[in-house]
């Protein structure tokens, strides 16, 4: 199942090379819809109890280096997988309707990027994650560089340099983690389930944490390493922008929950305040920029920085509510950003500009577009009643329990969001219509992509519990690593000091296998001595 989800996009892209250029877009759409259907089946049959991994795939891959092909989903990733498939379907469909140049290459790159992204969400092996993380850059490089607009070369290079530095730091960090814990684990392994049970010494954790954090913060992006994002957003072709803004940024946030907190728990506690302050700075700075910029893409770019700041806060509140809220908010934010970018494309087509100073009055002849846009706007500013509000409520509650002052300052971001989101809506849809603008209604082709996305926002607003209830056990399980000495020293199921756990988190019971301390073999392969917490 997971292998199919993982492999279909790139396979579809490859087969596309054999097809006539005319139909390759529709072929890719078909493939994207198939992978979406699989993701829906995955979510529908998903059992979130206990927060353990499901549908685990585990094959030996590079045995010399201890790298294994391990895939699995839990409450953290299952909706991100669905989200990835959904947004890719939207982006591929939108592209197919636009008929890009060199379609075979284009759709292959999209497929490759989807596989890489899904790989990040599914990987349970650290090195596999890192490879997929880096692989995402390759298609992105070509997509922005070859199909982008404006000063795309500069934008591409800026983006690649920024993210590559982060990625390579992470590669080093990953290798170092496996090597340095080899003594404890009994051999080199990159399996996350194993690594999290043998935390490194504090000092080592600290610098490896910094490597990982650098990679993720650049990708998110967070202030002040966001320098690449504005240029990239301006040059990125719009369907790709949906993915860049909607999904790729979530990989980074997800990485914190999946890898950094479980594997480097002491460092996560050590650097908690630093990360909270970075998140807070992102909120304030992103909001302030979103206030004053006049280009629509700039506004969305900076609002994304602010929203990712909230997600960072939630994760590093190191609390169940905050983490659960972040998982929800990742989905929410992606679902909001994607339609906004599509709407920007529609508006740009009608007014010939993306500058809000030269726009306005669209609502008159386009009531349906205006209605869809107001729904998206309200979700962006997280009006209570939307799923985004639930996400922010959970995050704020998590932060409030840890650091009251940060929660209070962060809440100003909500008021700011109301201002910049409404400003964007008002300046484009309301006010007098400028000269030369062509105000017309959504066409059917445009609606086919836009309406389902907005429908998803509304559906999730009616029942955000879909995600929060399924996410919480997995979040708790990630956070359980933070409990002081969760599995006992040297494998003895020692007394666990519950007081050290984050509020509301209970330490995970030490798995049976630990009692005998079977060494490396007991930990790999999910074999007979399978570690508890991994349900094949």
């Amino acid at each position: 199942m997971l292998v199919a989800i993982f492999a279909i996009p790139v396979a579809v892209g490859l087969i596309g090379f054999l097809l006539p250029a005319r139909i390759v877009g529709w072929w890719a759409t078909l493939g994207a819809l198939a992978s979406l259907a699989l993701a829906v089946v995955l979510v529908a049959g998903f059992d979130a109890t206990g927060g353990v991994l499901r549908d685990v795939v585990d094959e030996s891959w590079i045995p010399q280096l201890g790298v294994r092909f391990q895939l699995g989903v839990d409450g953290l990733s299952v909706f991100l997988v669905l989200l990835t498939s959904l947004l890719w379907a939207a982006a591929v469909l939108w592209s197919a309707l636009q008929a890009p140049d060199r379609p075979r290459n284009y759709f292959f790159m999209l497929g490759l990027a989807q596989t890489a992204t899904l790989g990040c969400f599914l990987a349970q092996d650290l090195l596999l994650f890192v490879l997929c993380f880096d692989l995402m850059l390759v298609p992105l490089y070509f997509l922005v560089g070859a199909w982008g607009t404006g000063d795309r070369i500069r934008a591409t290079i800026k983006m690649i340099v920024y993210t590559l530095v982060g990625s390579l730091l992470m590669l080093v960090g990953a290798i170092a983690t496996a090597v340095l814990s080899a003594d404890a684990t009994g051999g080199i392994t990159f399996s996350l389930e194993v690594l999290r049970r043998f935390p490194l010494a504090d000092g080592t954790q600290y610098w490896i944490f910094c490597f990982f954090a650098a990679a993720f913060l650049v990708k998110m992006p967070a202030v002040v390493v966001h320098g690449w994002v504005v240029d990239a957003y301006r040059s990125c072709p719009l369907p790709v922008l949906i993915l860049l803004g909607g999904v790729l940024s979530k990989v980074a946030a997800y990485g914190f929950l999946r890898i950094v907190i479980p594997v480097f728990p002491d460092a996560s506690i050590h650097f908690q305040e630093l990360l909270l302050i970075i998140g807070l700075a992102s909120i304030l700075y992103g909001s302030a920029m979103a206030f004053t910029r006049t280009g629509l893409r700039d506004i969305v770019a900076f609002s994304s920085i602010a929203q990712m700041g909230f997600i960072t806060l939630g994760i590093f509140s190191l609390s169940g509510a905050g983490g659960d809220g972040s998982v929800l908010q990742m989905v929410n934010h992606a679902l909001v950003v994607a339609p906004i970018f599509l709407i920007i494309a529609l508006l740009a087509e009608r007014t010939g500009t993306e500058d809000i100073r030269a726009m306005g009055g669209m609502a008159k002849r386009a009531p349906v577009l205006a209605a869809l846009f107001i729904v998206v706007t309200m979700a962006l500013l997280a009006i209570p009643g939307s799923a985004n509000f639930v996400g922010e409520l959970f995050i704020l509650k998590g932060v409030f329990e840890t650091k009251v002052a940060i929660a209070l300052i962060a809440s100003s971001g909500i008021a700011f969001a109301a201002f910049y989101a409404l400003r964007m809506y008002q300046r484009t849809m309301h006010n007098p219509l400028p000269e030369g603008a062509d105000s017309r209604e959504l066409t059917l082709r445009e609606g086919v992509v836009l309406v389902p996305l907005v429908a998803c926002i509304v559906a999730l607003a009616l029942y955000p519990g879909l995600i929060t209830t399924r996410g919480q056990d997995s979040v708790d399980r990630s956070l359980a690593s933070l409990c002081e000495d969760p599995y006992g020293i040297a494998g003895e199921p020692a007394a666990v000091v519950e007081a050290d756990c984050p509020p509301g988190i209970e330490p995970e019971p030490a798995p049976e296998a630990v009692a005998g301390r079977g060494g490396f073999d007991a930990w790999t392969g999910y074999g007979p001595a399978a570690a508890a917490g991994v349900a094949p």
Binding site: V161, V165, P384, V390, K397, G504
Partner: protein, 669 residues
Amino acid sequence: MSISTWGWLVLAFPLAGSLLIALLYRVLSAKAAGWIGTLAIALAFACSVGALLGLLDRPADQREIASTLYDYAGAAGIPFDLGILVDPLSVFMALVVTGVSALIHLYSVAYMGSDRGYRRFFSFLNFFVFSMLLLVLAGNYVLLIVGWAFVGFASYALISFWYRRRTATDAGMKAFVINVIGDIGLVFAAILLIKELGVTDYGAVFELAPEAFTANEWTVVAICLLLIVGAIAKSAQAPLHTWLADAMEGPTPVSALIHAATMVTAGVYLIARSYPLFDLAPTAADVAAFIGLFTLLMAATIALVVTDLKRIIAFSTMSQIGYMIVGVSIGAYSAGLFHLMTHAFFKALLFMAAGSIIAAMAAIQDIDRMRGFRRAMPFTCGALIVGALALAGFPGTSGFFSKDEILAFAATRGGMYWIFAVGGYIGAILTAFYSFRIVFRVVYGEPCEEAKELEGGHLAHAEPVNPATGEVEDTDVGFPGPDHHIAEREWPMKVAMAVLAFGALFGGLIQIPGVTHVLESFLEPVFEASPIAATVHVSTTDAYIGMAVGGLCSLLGIGAAFYLYMVAPGSTLRLRDRFRRLHDFLFNRWYFDELLNALAYRPVIACGRFASGTFERVVVDGIVRGAGDGVGGLGTVVRTAQSGFVRFYALLVVAGLAGLGLYFLLAAS
């Protein structure tokens, strides 16, 4: 049907109406949309009556029915149910909201008849009522926040209804953003409640709170202060009141809806609903009471000098809400809610009459231009006078009984609370004065041009201009369109106003001290646990003394207005010149807009400009450039500059990191 089913139906009809009109916007004729909207609210009213009868069937101590639809998002220790609570308080609110809103819808069917955005208008109007009903019926604090915010959204949509007007869209944004500040207050209140008690359901919170908190403990005071932030933002109390006057940019029925039935009364409801918490935090309750008193007097003084007809009424709303806030904060719960009800009647009536006059004036709102409509529009003027009498608290009218009940309670509670009684009576004089300032200037005197034209049977027309900026309106998006509608010629407007006029005149009779106490005994089971209500009893004698004082205040204010505008016209101009500074201070609304601009808006925008103009360029891009330059310097040294700094830099990084990785692999084996 069970009571909770009635409760859910009250919510379902307006929502269904809103969605139906929105989805069928191409198909429905304009009138059909209006009637569907009105019918939806009327059905909601009928269901509220159903719930009321159901409650009355039960013994007084079993009138709290909670019902949950589903678990909305409860997880990670945060409870979040989609649940409602039907009890006397919520049913009372639902009755007022649906009853008055139904009449406003009826009025709008005619008043907005020539508006191009007719369907959009009714869809939003129904949604507005739905939001308000969600707010009052919600069974827990988190769902309350949802209704609270939906009300904010609906007000945004309706205030900026004529969206080609820049002033209207700006006013809508202002209302929304200020309301979001209130929302944040509520969110933190809810978070604190969850943290301290682990529940948000009203029943559970009020049960646990007395055990968890000692009186005036900082947590419960903080919770109440946060609730007050939400309440003052929504109820337009100082210093978060500035949006309300700007909200007059919306169509007049919207003003009526915001001011009378929905939205601004939410803060009063919130404090009344949370009374067990406020009882535990008397400090916070006193803070709210003083905010109410301050707003009451401030808004009344502004209403003395403002010349825009709708804005005078808007400031009078702030002032009257101040009375209610004072009432529910000092423990006069049923009195405060009684005033909420009577105010809904006479304020809706005043706005409807004002809308009719403004239509007759071809959308001019300046009372300096209006004069002598009594013969041209007898029905409208009659309604205006009835509304003004009730607002002024003229003896026997509804406003008279309700206002005096609050002030008599304040006087009886004694001590510090005397301030509220005294301030309230001073406010009553001002209120009577400015209400009759409207009446004497608009109804009486030598008819103005428009009034004369109307007496000749012709309704004035003019090219619609934005009263605020003088810009010619874009009538493409709707009203102010080519046609105007006045009550004299439209029966739905007449019916709505007649019903409200009846309520404004006789609504007070349900609560005559010593004679009737319909409302008080209905609401009693809700507030019986309150220690203040249990200890403070207004004796009938005191109530009548208070009513005598209140009646005198009212007559004094009306008399002063009569003297200044009828006996010695022109004397107000002399007064204005004499006290120029004071007049400017009041006319500029105590400079609160300027204060908020200077304290909040401008610093934030300045930060944004700095971030955008300087920081981003110097620091963020500087990192890239610095890195490039650094590599460049290195590049010159190794004479590979021509290969491009960035690419070389990337290569260097790759090589370095690959080496590092290799080192670890080697070291391990």
